[in-house]
């Protein structure tokens, strides 16, 4: 009996230890980020352009702008397809095609981002002979599709069938019922899913390495290489220049802040909107 009691205490203690150890890297990483990043963060960072290696100062204005542009392109490219696919999946829930599409969406989700990157290079960069913001945005958009499709499907499924029937009984056509009534009712949840997908691709670097390429100058043109925060971080972190290394921390802090802001916006979009009916 004593042995069992000791075993119990030991194992439970190990669980507590595991929990603490799991949180340790989070604390270490975020802590280091905040400490080192905050000190390098100033107004210049957001407004100035990168300077050549060796000189101190400069900022990441073009990287931040570039990331925002890429996210915009990704949304335009990926969201309509993702939401449309989600609507299809929700409305044909048991059909054979729907099950296959659902399964393949999860498979697509697991394709490594670097493979998406070389694919985008192969079809968008190589034939046109130049890197471009558009190809980077499309690569990111492709990555948003499976996640958006699944969350959209789930959100539409939460709309009760009685609502659909009420609309049909009023004389709504099938497509208007689906769009104006069902999808509209599920809209907050769909927006949340879209923002979650956006937060995920905001931090991606690999798909951009061979598509958007990066740019030391200010450029928002879709047909030209464009800079992005993750790309610049990669460049600065792996460089031997101290000032670049220092700025990389600041950039990382900004990138995480961006991801968190999008995540918070997602949570805000999902907030309960209408009070329960008073009965």
């Amino acid at each position: 009996m004593i042995r069992r009691k000791i075993a119990n205490v030991v194992m439970l203690a190990l669980m507590w230890l595991a929990a603490a150890l799991v949180l340790l890297p989070l604390v270490l990483i975020l802590g280091r980020l905040i400490v080192q990043g905050a000190s390098s963060l100033n107004g210049d960072f957001f407004t100035k352009m990168p300077l050549p290696p060796g000189s101190t100062g400069g900022g990441m204005a073009n990287s931040i702008a570039g990331t925002l542009v890429l996210l915009l392109i990704a949304s335009v490219a990926g969201l309509p397809v993702g939401v449309g696919a989600g609507i299809y999946l929700a409305e044909h829930r048991s059909a054979k095609t729907a099950s296959v599409v659902r399964f393949l969406a999860d498979v697509l989700n697991g394709v490594p981002s670097i493979v998406v990157g070389i694919f985008a290079w192969e079809i968008l960069v190589k034939p046109l002979h130049h890197f471009s913001a558009l190809s980077g945005g499309i690569a990111l958009g492709a990555m948003m599709i499976p996640l958006t499709a699944r969350t959209t499907e789930e959100m539409i499924r939460t709309v009760p069938n009685s609502l659909r029937e009420a609309a049909l009984a009023l004389g709504y056509t099938n497509w208007r019922t689906s769009l104006s009534i069902v999808t509209r009712t599920a809209l907050p949840g769909i927006v949340t899913g879209a923002l979650v997908a956006l937060a995920r691709v905001a931090g991606e670097t690999a798909p951009l390495l061979f598509t958007a390429l990066g740019n030391n100058f200010w450029s928002l043109r879709l047909s030209q290489p464009i800079d992005a925060l993750p790309l610049r971080l990669f460049l600065y972190a792996t460089s031997p220049y101290d000032d670049w290394n220092r700025q990389a921390w600041a950039g990382a802090l900004v990138l995480i802040a961006l991801v968190l802001i999008i995540g918070i916006a997602a949570r805000y979009a999902a907030r309960p909107r209408f009070g329960k009916a008073v009965d």
């Binding site: 595991a18 150890l21 696919a85 490594p112 670097i114 070389i118 079809i123 056509t173 670097t205 993750p230």
Partner: protein
């Protein structure tokens, strides 16, 4: 409010258009997957055809002399992922058990949130931390600890010089990155075990640990393995953080402190500077192989997790 006979019309065009649009969107998913697979394979085919099966077994990767053996990259991918899973699994499962069974109610939500936050940190940020914090820590503290304090320096696995970046460093970063995935899946399947199972065990006089070991975990086993395999899938495909801390040298070594390559990092590192068309094709071939491996692993993971759901139903 009576009316004359209603006007009757034919089928509605709007419905058909809508149907077509949503079906088109849905079909983009398999189309995209197929497209990616086909393009990457076609681009990599020249390299496959040139080297044959030895593409996977040759351990020399020398783009300048057009020798492309992917073995070091494959080796590195497998080893770094294995290390990651070895470290991450006990921690993730332990933390998940903690959250599902042991944590006080007020702690559950915030702590789950924090663990999931690990998944939100971008790969390149992990890499940054890896270069400037973990790698020096490896060189100055962790490796000496293992080699000298634990006297394990004579084992081949811990032998050789320590530069900082290396297989073990990459493995540790990967472990941190896959932790939240294993933990999330495990947590879910543990919580899906019915309350009655727990109560039955406790009523028979089991200690809390014995209840967890004998009543909760067995029912969730398939799902836990599924979560681990899911973590493996993510580790295999992880690019940026690994590229930044693995040293990027195309060699196979026995020591975990040695630098190496992974399939993902070899592409990230060399693609833009490919010295020849054969080089680019070889990198594409590596990408195609990586895609196949992760696809298979992910499908297995999903099947395992689905089995838990099916059994619970």
């Amino acid at each position: 409010m009576s009316r004359a006979a209603p006007h009757m019309a034919g089928a509605v065009v709007g419905d058909r258009i809508y149907r077509w649009l949503t079906t088109l969107a849905a079909l983009m998913v398999p189309a995209l997957l197929l497209f990616i697979g086909i393009e990457v394979f076609i681009a990599g085919w020249p390299a496959f055809r040139l080297a044959g099966f030895s593409f996977f077994t040759t351990s020399r990767w020398d783009p300048v002399h057009s020798v492309f053996g992917a073995a070091p990259a494959i080796f590195g991918t497998l080893v770094s992922s294995a290390i990651a899973l070895l470290i991450a699994t006990p921690l993730a499962v332990g933390a998940a058990v903690f959250l599902a069974e042991l944590a006080p109610r007020w702690l559950r939500q915030p702590m789950s949130f924090l663990v999931d936050l690990l998944a939100a940190i971008p790969s390149v940020v992990y890499g940054l931390w890896g270069i400037f914090v973990l790698a020096p820590m490896m060189r100055q503290h962790i490796a000496p600890f293992i080699k000298e304090t634990l006297h394990l320096g004579n084992l081949p696995i811990f032998s050789g010089p320590v530069y900082g970046p290396g297989m073990l460093t990459a493995g540790i970063i990967l472990a941190i990155m896959v932790l939240p995935y294993i933990s999330a899946v495990t947590r879910e399947v543990l919580m899906a075990v019915p309350r009655s199972q727990r109560e039955a065990a406790l009523a028979l006089g089991a200690t809390k640990w014995e209840m967890i070991r004998d009543a909760v975990i067995p029912g969730a086993r398939s799902g836990i393995v599924g979560g681990i395999v899911l973590g493996l899938g993510r580790a295999l495909g992880e690019t940026m953080a690994v590229t930044m801390v693995i040293g990027n040298t195309p060699k196979i070594s026995a020591s975990v402190f040695a630098t190496g390559y992974t399939m993902a990092s070899i592409i990230a590192n060399e693609f833009n500077e490919a010295v020849s068309n054969e080089h680019a094709s070889a990198l594409m071939a590596v990408g195609a192989s990586l895609m196949v491996i992760t696809l298979v692993v992910n499908i297995i993971a999903r099947w395992l997790v689905a089995r838990v759901g099916a059994r619970a139903a």
